[in-house]
């Protein structure tokens, strides 16, 4: 029996969702519309009495004060067209699930509930209604759409699966190279020919054939085996490009290098060397080996840190992609060591301009839609999980049209010891049980790992899209932390890319083997093939290793906390990755081959410096130039986004993302107190400047790292207790017919890594975790849109006493304004040049030795309490930093530009150059002497005073800038005031 209930707002009550939709129809789609009303639809499958239905409506679905409902008949609202948006079969319907629980509470019956939303559109044509549905309200990958004049369509998106699970085998032996590649393409295996050969040679070797035969397997590999290998060997999981053997040639200098793994040569080596140098002061606890990096916080607690990307899923379904991105990285932290509790999120997005008005290639969503979807996904993922989003930024460049970048990061806290064991150490032993905890398995997210290792093309599988449920995950998280504290967890890892295959396969390396029983895995619906159960990336699941002596207690607690936990396998020491389905072996692979059998890639990289046109223009009016800069997407206020994220939950907020008199100034970094009883704090910041990569990715990386550290230091972060996380997002760096400059992109990657080594070492800030995403291209017929090479550094440090922190807003009239650092004519890749349509060549270069010295002294000055405000100079240079500090404190400044320590250059260059490692600091006059004493030996100058209500910049008597701070603030705010 089907019952359809519609719930809408009463006549005179504001329908906020309808109003918001109307605004977006007008603003985003340019469609004139009179009225939008909405209603929620609950379609119930199950036998219910009339009285029960009424009770459900009145006591669960409908708020009697503001809403009304109808049962099995349409709710009447003024309209020309009605659009109904529901889910496609198999897509997670969170509200539906909660409704089922609510009904059970109320009347004690178990039913199925499917939800959808009605939009009553007044004043549009059918074509317009269709556009609204497809371009704003629904995503056809996951939603079903009905457009109606009147009446309703009664249906339920039940998965109708009559497929009988089966196992296929593949006669690799008989396949030509062409056929092998065809197989790889058809099944989205993303395996290269060389890898397919390695797999073929393995399976048909004498020993393997014999061993497999003994298990009842044919000589040909099964789909389960092939899929498990493809997943384990995917770029996403194995980082083949970062581990490749690379021949690098610098065509400008003739220099040649052979690099055996970028990761080992540059990233890992730097961290190892820094740790050695630090000796006893080493605060790194676990680096590059776990789901997240772990650093020491104090004697009792450690901090786990991880930043991930979720680019491809966010391109296809911005909301779902970003939501699963943030929930996924939360699980990485929950799965670090024996488990850490997430305490903050940090999110960085790269989008094309939301005002983009050009053609959209097939299957590419409009950047505004991506922006809004991603924003909402992160809002729901963070807010509903009770994790404050304390840091982030948005970078705009139209090359992100092909693929948006969505970086999701999380920090977590864990006691350094639990029941006498180090919490960062995990292991599995022969006989331990593999328990899957959390959600159930469906077809969602199958091939995520291999898929993200490919370019986005028109036939990209829609099953790669998953929708997360923050509440299911929160329940699981609460339970797992409770279990951890009771000492029930030996090892924990998340089910992300590659699902159980990856989570059990990887943790089985400790014990050296595992058996997985696929028929025991709880499914969302029937009809999944064994390989799908193994590979599914259904969300909200963790895999936990529990020793047999504790399994009863573990399962008991799970039941008590209403969390599903199922033994799905056990760890062995057989050396085999052994998968069974209904008692039959369906995969039997050597652990050694699975994890270490992938052949090393051999690649060529060729670097030649690109010369860009040197700009030639004379600015008319520097006031205008500054106002225009402040309005630019990369500089303007992001308050619209920040306010919609909860940045204060957990109660430890100290420096918020927005600061100043009116709580609207752009903070350089955020600080939280993770332990409320203590004044110790964590400082979180980031750096990302893809524009500089157009000139040289070496300096792009140096500057990005400097920016992240600089932001961190600006609020009081301690560079002596500071760790970094690196995230590389690249365009395909493998040369091929349709990617002719792949070797150049690889050279850019090599140079980026060289800088990472040089500068992390020089700053003595070790990377403790990182991630790469290598195929951020869009390809369709002859269109190729590649993202600019992009590196994000996330930097986390400790501040001993948060009461010493400073913010960027000027504090008092009469305070002295200082600039720290020397200014060079470095506008290559700057916002100022970009505004005038140029790239230029003089990219900023970092002098890390000088910078580190400055950062240490500034830290001392901050901790001594002689700094009133401190703001870093970044996009837009000195003038933008001055303006931001001034209007955030709602006070003006008078600056004498000739006092700025600098090279000789035109005044507009002086104001807008993006030379790194500089700050604007204000100091109370009574602290002048002490401040200058502390900073002595570094380059700095007093350049003016906080005064009046305009920003006035003079150069040798000539007025360059004289603009009221209100005008500056307005210019900075208006761009994204949505």
């Amino acid at each position: 029996m089907l019952t359809r209930i519609e719930v809408g707002f009463k006549e005179r009550i504001i329908d906020a969702r309808g109003e918001k939709t109307k605004r977006r129809i007008i603003e985003d789609l340019g469609i004139r519309i009179e009225k939008v009303k909405t209603a929620d639809v609950y379609t119930i499958l199950g036998e219910l009495e009339e009285e029960e239905i009424r009770k459900i409506c009145e006591e669960l679905f409908c708020d009697p004060l503001i809403q009304e409902y109808s049962i099995n008949e349409p709710l009447n609202r003024e309209h020309d067209w009605i659009v109904e948006i529901g889910f496609k079969p198999g897509v997670t319907d969170n509200v539906g699930k909660t409704s089922e629980e609510g009904i059970k509470d109320l009347i004690g019956k178990s039913v199925r509930v499917f939800t959808s939303t009605l939009y009553f559109l007044k004043g549009v044509s059918r074509d317009e209604a269709e556009r609204i549905a497809k371009e704003l309200l629904a995503n056809e990958l996951i939603n079903r759409i009905h457009i109606m004049r009147d009446g309703r369509v009664l249906e339920t998106p039940l998965v109708k699966e009559e497929h009988k699970p089966r196992v296929q085998t593949f006669k690799l032996k008989e396949m030509s190279d062409e056929e092998l590649m065809k197989l790889s393409g058809e099944r989205t295996l993303a395996l290269s020919l060389e890898e397919l050969h390695a797999i073929r040679d393995y399976f048909y070797s004498e020993r393997v054939r014999r061993e497999r035969m003994e298990r009842g397997l044919p000589e040909d590999p099964t789909d389960v085996e092939l899929e498990a290998l493809a997943q384990t060997w995917s770029e996403h999981c194995k980082h083949k490009i970062f581990n490749a053997l690379i021949e690098y040639e610098d065509e400008d200098t003739g220099e040649k290098l052979v690099i055996d793994s970028l990761f080992k040569t540059f990233i890992k080596r730097s961290t190892e060397e820094i740790r050695e140098e630090m000796g006893e002061r080493d605060f790194c606890v676990s680096v590059f080996s776990d789901n997240a990096g772990i650093m020491k916080f104090n004697d009792e607690y450690n901090i786990a840190l991880k930043v991930e990307t979720h680019n491809t899923p966010s391109a296809l379904d911005p909301y779902g992609g970003a939501l699963t991105g943030i929930l996924g990285v939360n699980r990485d932290v929950l799965g670090a060591g024996k488990g850490a509790k997430p305490i903050f999120n940090t999110d960085v997005f790269c989008f094309a301009s939301p005002f983009y008005s050009g053609e959209l290639p097939p299957r590419i969503l409009h950047p505004k839609r991506i922006f809004e979807g991603v924003r909402l996904g992160v809002e729901h993922g963070g807010n509903k999980s009770g994790i404050p989003t304390i840091n982030g930024c948005i970078v705009f460049d139209d090359r992100y049209l092909g693929k948006p970048l969505v970086y999701c990061g999380t920090g977590g806290i864990m006691p350094s010891e639990i029941n006498g064991e180090f919490s960062h150490e995990k292991k599995t032993e022969d006989g331990d049980l593999a328990v899957m905890v959390g959600g159930r398995v469906g077809k969602d997210g199958i091939h995520g790992a291999t898929f993200s290792s490919e370019e986005l093309h028109i036939a990209s599988p829609t099953s790669a899209v998953q929708i997360g449920d923050p509440i299911t995950q929160k329940k699981m998280m609460d339970f797992l932390l409770e279990a951890r504290d009771r000492g029930l967890i030996k090892c924990i890892t998340d089910n992300g890319a590659g699902g159980l295959s990856s989570s059990i396969g990887e943790t089985a390396q400790f014990s050296n083997g595992c058996e997985i029983y696929l028929e025991r895995v709880p499914l969302k619906y029937h009809g999944l093939d064994p390989w799908e159960i193994l590979l599914s990336e259904s969300q909200e699941r963790m895999t936990v290793a529990v020793s047999p002596s504790k399994i009863d207690e573990f399962l008991e607690l799970a039941k008590k906390r209403d969390v599903e936990a199922t033994i799905v396998g056990k760890y062995t020491s057989t050396g085999k990755f052994h998968v069974l389905y209904e008692g039959r072996t369906v995969a039997y692979i050597d652990m050694e081959f699975l994890h270490h059998g992938v052949p090393q890639m051999k690649l060529k990289a060729r670097w030649r410096r690109r010369r860009h046109e040197e700009p030639e223009f004379e600015p008319d009016d520097l006031n205008e130039e500054l106002l225009k800069l402040l309005s630019r997407l990369n500089i303007c206020s992001k308050e619209y986004v920040i306010r919609q994220y909860d940045h204060e939950v957990q109660g430890g907020s100290v420096v918020k993302p927005l600061v100043g008199v009116m709580n609207d100034g752009p903070s350089d970094a955020s600080i939280i107190r993770p332990i409320l009883e203590s004044f110790e704090g964590l400082v979180v910041s980031n750096g990302i400047i893809p524009r500089y990569g157009d000139i040289d990715t070496y300096h792009m990386v140096a500057c990005s790292l400097d920016e992240a550290i600089r932001n961190n230091v600006a609020v009081g972060g301690n560079i002596d207790h500071m760790a970094a996380l690196d995230n590389f997002c690249w365009c395909d760096p493998i040369k091929s017919e349709n990617n002719p400059d792949g070797d150049f992109k690889l050279a850019q990657l090599v140079r980026a890594n060289m800088a990472l080594y040089d500068y992390t070492k020089a700053f003595r800030v070790p990377c403790i975790s990182g991630k790469d995403s290598m195929k951020n291209d869009y390809v369709y017929e002859n269109i190729r849109i590649s993202i600019p090479p992009t590196v994000l550094f996330t930097v986390v440090s400790k501040i001993e006493d948060v009461r010493k922190a400073v913010t960027m807003d000027v504090k008092r009239e009469g305070d002295l304004v200082y600039i720290l650092g020397f200014t060079r004519d470095e506008l290559g890749g700057s916002e100022y040049y970009a505004m005038h349509g140029y790239i230029g060549n003089n990219v900023p270069k970092v002098n890390a030795k000088e910078a580190r010295e400055r950062y240490l002294k500034l830290r001392n000055a901050i901790y001594e309490g002689v700094v009133a405000s401190c703001h870093d100079c970044s996009d837009g240079g000195l003038a933008v930093a001055l303006a931001e500090s001034a209007f955030s404190g709602r006070m003006g400044m008078e600056i004498r530009a000739e006092r700025i320590p600098s090279e000789k250059m035109p005044v507009d260059h002086l104001l807008f150059s993006e030379t790194q490692s500089r700050f604007i600091v204000t100091v109370h006059p009574e602290h002048q002497e002490r401040f200058e004493e502390i900073m002595s030996g570094t380059c700095f100058a007093e350049i003016g005073v906080v005064k009046g209500d305009s920003l006035i910049v003079k150069h040798e008597g000539r007025v360059l800038i004289n603009t009221p701070i209100e005008a500056l603030e307005e210019a900075w705010k208006r761009t994204l005031r949505w």
Binding site: I14, A16, T98, D469, R643, Y645, E648, V806, T807
Partner: protein, 257 residues
């Protein structure tokens, strides 16, 4: 005497730790208890003096915020809850907790008639979730928790905080002194958006029942547990915080139980 506070947790509630911290700091013995442990009778409501429904997203705000949790309480724990209030105990609901109290009808509880929903909290007029600090005027009400407080400055963090009710109920709330706090402008005048962040009727941010012992509010006092939580602590001397609400509660129990 030992003041015992039960801080509810589970199913998407997420402010339990800082709420417990505030009660502890105020001198209570605060215990975080999972909803399932109440439902299974492993813990009894009546063993505590204070019950707190913390902020968060119980059941994901699905259907309507607070609704599903309110129903769960109503179905199996309502008698104990009412008994706790009648016997002199205190109940506070913050943000999502306020939504729960309203939807199960514990607020406003006219004439001690708990269980009938008379007011609601619904979607902000802005259509957005927003995290921002708001100025509040504490009215002369019966509320135990706000005794001696005139003004407060606290963060709101919600998408469904618009207070709404019928004219009739509104009049009654005013007449009975059950309106505890209202959003005001920084100068103390009538609040318009964003100072009234959600479009609440008569700028109402919090109400209490007729005994003054049940209190619900949208802003988060527990997020202002230390002066460094204040957005401008680097600019101004911060004297007050959200702690007073918790201190009042503990003091009341000590004096009256």
């Amino acid at each position: 005497m030992e003041v015992k506070a039960l801080i509810l947790a589970g199913y998407g509630i997420n402010c339990e730790n800082e709420t417990a911290y505030c009660f502890r700091k105020a001198g209570a013995q605060a215990e975080i208890v999972h909803l399932r442990d109440l439902l299974s009778m492993e813990r009894g409501l009546l063993d505590y003096h204070i019950l707190a429904f913390p902020g968060g997203f119980s059941f994901g705000d699905d259907i309507a915020s607070g609704k599903v949790l309110a129903n769960k309480f109503k179905v199996s724990l309502f008698d104990d809850l009412v008994e706790l209030v009648r016997s002199g105990g205190l109940v506070i609901g913050i943000c999502n907790g306020f939504q729960v109290l309203v939807k199960m009808g514990l607020l406003p509880g006219f004439h001690g008639d708990y269980g009938a929903q008379k007011v609601t909290l619904t979607f902000n007029d802005s259509g957005k979730f927003e995290d921002r600090w708001v100025h509040l005027r504490v009215e002369n009400s019966k509320c135990i928790f706000t005794k001696g407080i005139k003004r407060m400055y606290l963060p709101v963090r919600h998408a469904e905080g618009k207070f709404f009710t019928s004219q009739n109920v509104l009049e009654k709330l005013n007449k009975n002194h059950q309106v505890v706090m209202r959003y005001i402008s920084p100068e103390g005048g009538k609040a318009i958006y964003p100072w009234n962040p959600n479009g609440s009727l008569e700028d109402i941010a919090g109400i209490c029942d007729e005994t003054g012992r049940v209190f619900g509010l949208m802003p988060h006092p527990e997020a202002f547990n230390h002066y460094t939580n204040h957005p401008r602590w680097r600019r101004e001397k911060i004297r007050e915080s959200g702690m007073k609400i918790f201190e009042n509660a503990v003091k009341y129990i000590k004096e009256n139980f």
